[in-house]
Symmetry: C2
DNA sequence: GAATGTGAAGGTTTTCACAGCA
DNA sequence: TGCTGTGAAAACCTTCACATTC
């Protein structure tokens, strides 16, 4: 019984983001009929260096063929597996306001295996209404319904003032990851992943860049 | 005629993002009635280290008082100036679909001085309709209207297939920065800033984190 | 010959630790 | 005494360069 713990190097967030980019580009290459792609070609499309591409992939294994490059289908499948999007994730959206309802219809989500199965709101006028075949539930039943459906991720699009209550509820119901659009620093226990989406921040970066003539290194 | 070029250190993107975070937290501290804040308190609220806060600020000057901390109003004003949000920015949204129309109503934008003044679409059913007091214009007049209004930033929320055409148009009209929601790698000339907002990428990160038990270092 | 995979080098960002000032 | 501002050290990430393989 050997215990070869492979010492699992910490993967940087940038590497993970780039994997997402590679994945999207590989889908495109598939459509364009490519069977094989080199790190150079992949890098060009993302404005990265070939070495960066190879290094990123090397953290997870050796997927290429020397002298040839990477098999497009194979690499895409492999990255999908690494990212955990070789399966369906069930999500709920909490807060069916402007952004919440826009996200119900956001096609990129379903395309990557993120399937929105429940919607919640506290507004009586919204509860019971139908969005893309999903009936909006009363937020009162949040934890019960989340737990019943085995939902593992939620998207929070409620006002900042109530966001923390929603988080506490869904955490209790067993949610493992939260994408938060409310402009507030939420608290989650250490076993729950939280990501904040802040669109003003992106505009603020642009504003800074214009005003300061910023020369970005490797901008998003 | 001295030529003291201050060698202007390149500021990292992370520093700029953190400035945005400080700015938001300082607004909150104002509301909570704080007059003064230490790097420690500021750091706690963002889950950062005090040294990080101080270092970030030090790139731009010395804004604090030893033994005391920072004056909340003063620091907020200073960061606003650095970020270039001590003024109004006129924006246009191109593509009034789900996301575009959600963003028209997004309050965080106006709160930070980003004022949406024009909307564009190519759909005859949408052109002429009213969103928050703004009449949707025909995309045919894009460059003319953008130039006339002196719009410097645009948000692109059209399908990936047409996004590049929109970009080419607005660049010709003199736009300096673009926030892109279309899932495609756009080309812009070097004097135009481009930022991509990709919400699936955030979910993919969460998916990766769950599947791989990722321990993030300094997650968004 | 062509392109991967990877240690080592180089660069950047964060953290430490302490001098300096209110 | 308390907290900033900042060089220097440590950690981290990217790029180089080349041995290796097809």
């Amino acid at each position: 019984m050997s215990s070869e713990q492979p010492a699992k190097k910490r993967i940087s967030e940038s590497t993970i983001h780039r994997l997402s980019m590679y994945y999207r580009t590989l889908s495109l290459l598939q459509k364009e009929g490519y069977e094989t792609v080199s790190s150079k070609e992949l890098a060009n499309r993302e404005k990265l260096t070939p070495a960066q591409v190879r290094k990123d992939l090397s953290f997870f294994g050796s997927f290429g063929t020397r002298g040839l490059g990477y098999d497009v289908n194979e690499l895409k499948a492999k990255i999908g597996e690494i990212l955990g999007i070789d399966r369906q994730w069930k999500l709920a959206i909490i807060g069916i306001g402007n952004i919440g309802s826009a996200l119900v219809n956001y096609k990129e989500f379903s395309r990557q295996g993120f399937s929105i199965v429940k919607l919640f709101d506290n507004d009586q006028r919204k509860i019971g209404s139908n969005h893309k075949g999903i009936i909006v539930s009363d937020i009162k039943n949040l934890d019960k319904e989340i737990a019943e459906d085995g939902i593992e991720m939620v998207i929070i699009t409620v006002p900042a003032t109530v966001a923390q209550y929603m988080v506490d509820d869904v955490v209790r119901a067993g949610v493992k990851a939260i994408l938060n659009f409310a402009p507030i620093n939420l608290k989650v226990p250490p076993n729950v992943y939280l990501r904040n989406e802040n669109m003003s921040m992106e505009l603020e970066y642009l504003s800074f860049a214009i005003v300061n003539n910023h020369t970005p290194k490797n901008s998003k």
